[in-house]
């Protein structure tokens, strides 16, 4: 593991099962809350909801892969890719980070405290990584 990769424990199988079962609920709620912030979505026009939902689902799956294996290197790669590519799709890094923070809040509301304690460090890791890259 490189110095830059934080050591996180893989989530338990039970947490993984519960999280996968809640994926639609978590992504839908995160996107619904994000749609209220017009300054975050106005550049996407009528496609805003679909775009945000697809993006959130993609991010969730990336996070899940890292959580299940304990490999934060997967998130390092994802963060660099996202910050390189997404601005070309009119997705601003600051808005990605805000949506990740909302996702973390939704997870804490929908999952048990024990499960949330396993999941949140990974979301925090991705938020910190993207914040560091986008604003060095």
């Amino acid at each position: 593991m490189s110095e830059k990769q934080q050591a996180l424990k893989p989530i338990s199988e039970e947490t993984a099962r519960k999280l996968l079962a809640a994926i639609d609920e978590i992504t839908n709620e995160t996107v619904s809350r994000s749609m209220k912030y017009k300054d975050e979505i106005e550049q996407h026009g009528e496609k805003a909801f679909e775009l945000l939902k697809n993006g959130m689902y993609f991010t969730f799956k990336m996070l899940f892969a890292a959580m299940q294996t304990g490999e934060t290197g997967l998130l390092d790669d994802q963060a660099e890719w996202a910050l390189s590519r997404l601005p070309h799709d009119n997705v601003r890094p600051v808005n990605i980070i805000k949506r990740l923070e909302r996702m973390k809040t939704v997870v804490a509301e929908k999952m048990s405290r024990e499960h949330t304690q396993e999941i949140s460090p990974y979301i925090d890791y991705l938020i910190q990584k993207m914040s560091r890259i986008s604003d060095p």
Binding site: M1, P10, F58, K61, M62, F64, A65, A66, Q68, T69, G70, E71, G73, L74, D76, D77, Q78, W81, S84, R85, H88
Partner: protein, 233 residues
């Protein structure tokens, strides 16, 4: 063609690129399919090693095409066109690759369910073919149950699993667990590779995989190495 790290005013990545790769890439970016085909076929007919073409031209070009899309300098359609041209040339090179007096070893190579990026895995399959292995290339996006049936039926010496996009890692884990827990295929040797595993080189050890390969040449030498102890014993 421009100079100074550009082709047709497109900014290339900082990775060094050989002249043949640059020429091939330039033709792809101009949409000159037949010229690109001629360039490679003439290079092969003049004696170039196909393995070098795969590594130094095709793989290198794919990297650059991916970079150009990521930086929004080319479209998805251009990326797909370029990949399709490379695939069509690989098909034309196949008669040069088939090893008619090959080894008595078989490898099945597949991308996990949902994984659409198959070109790298296909190149690996061709490298095995060049080394004399019998190859059973399944390709992209194959459900785990179907892959298990394939392994049970083919009983290959090695099963190669390719993952390019990291979020397909859970599918790879599920697939490997399914195979290793199956009474018929529990002893199947499994080698993993692809960009996702290269991103996290220690990841394969957390699965029940037997080996990891970081590139085409490594895949062949690693797979051969799985049997050296068997021969010695």
């Amino acid at each position: 063609m421009d100079d100074n790290g550009k082709i047709n005013s497109l900014e290339l990545s900082e990775k060094p690129i050989q002249p043949l790769s640059r020429d091939y890439l330039a033709l792809l970016l101009k949409g000159k399919r037949s010229n690109a085909v001629d360039l490679i076929m003439e290079t092969v007919e003049s004696g170039a090693e196909i393995s070098d073409i795969y590594l130094d031209v095709f793989q290198r070009t794919q990297y650059e095409i991916g970079y150009l899309w990521q930086t929004n300098q080319i479209s998805v359609a251009q990326e797909h066109f370029s990949t399709a041209v490379t695939q069509s040339i690989m098909a034309q090179l196949y008669p040069h690759i088939i090893h008619r007096n090959g080894k008595d070893r078989e490898i099945v190579i597949a991308c996990v369910g949902g994984e659409l990026h198959e070109l790298g895995a296909r190149m690996v399959a061709d490298f095995f073919e060049m080394d004399g292995w019998q190859t059973y290339f399944v390709g992209a996006n194959t459900p785990a149950e179907s892959l298990l049936e394939t392994i049970q039926k083919q009983k290959p010496d090695v099963f190669g699993v390719s993952v390019t996009i990291s979020y397909h890692i859970p599918e790879a884990k599920q697939l490997i667990d399914m195979i290793k827990n199956d009474p018929e295929s529990g002893n199947q040797k499994i080698m993993v590779g692809g960009r996702a595993f290269n991103t996290a080189p220690g990841l394969w050890k957390k699965f029940s995989a037997d080996a990891f390969a970081k590139n085409m040449r490594d895949a062949v030498s690693t797979a051969n190495g799985l049997f050296i102890d068997t021969i010695r014993n």
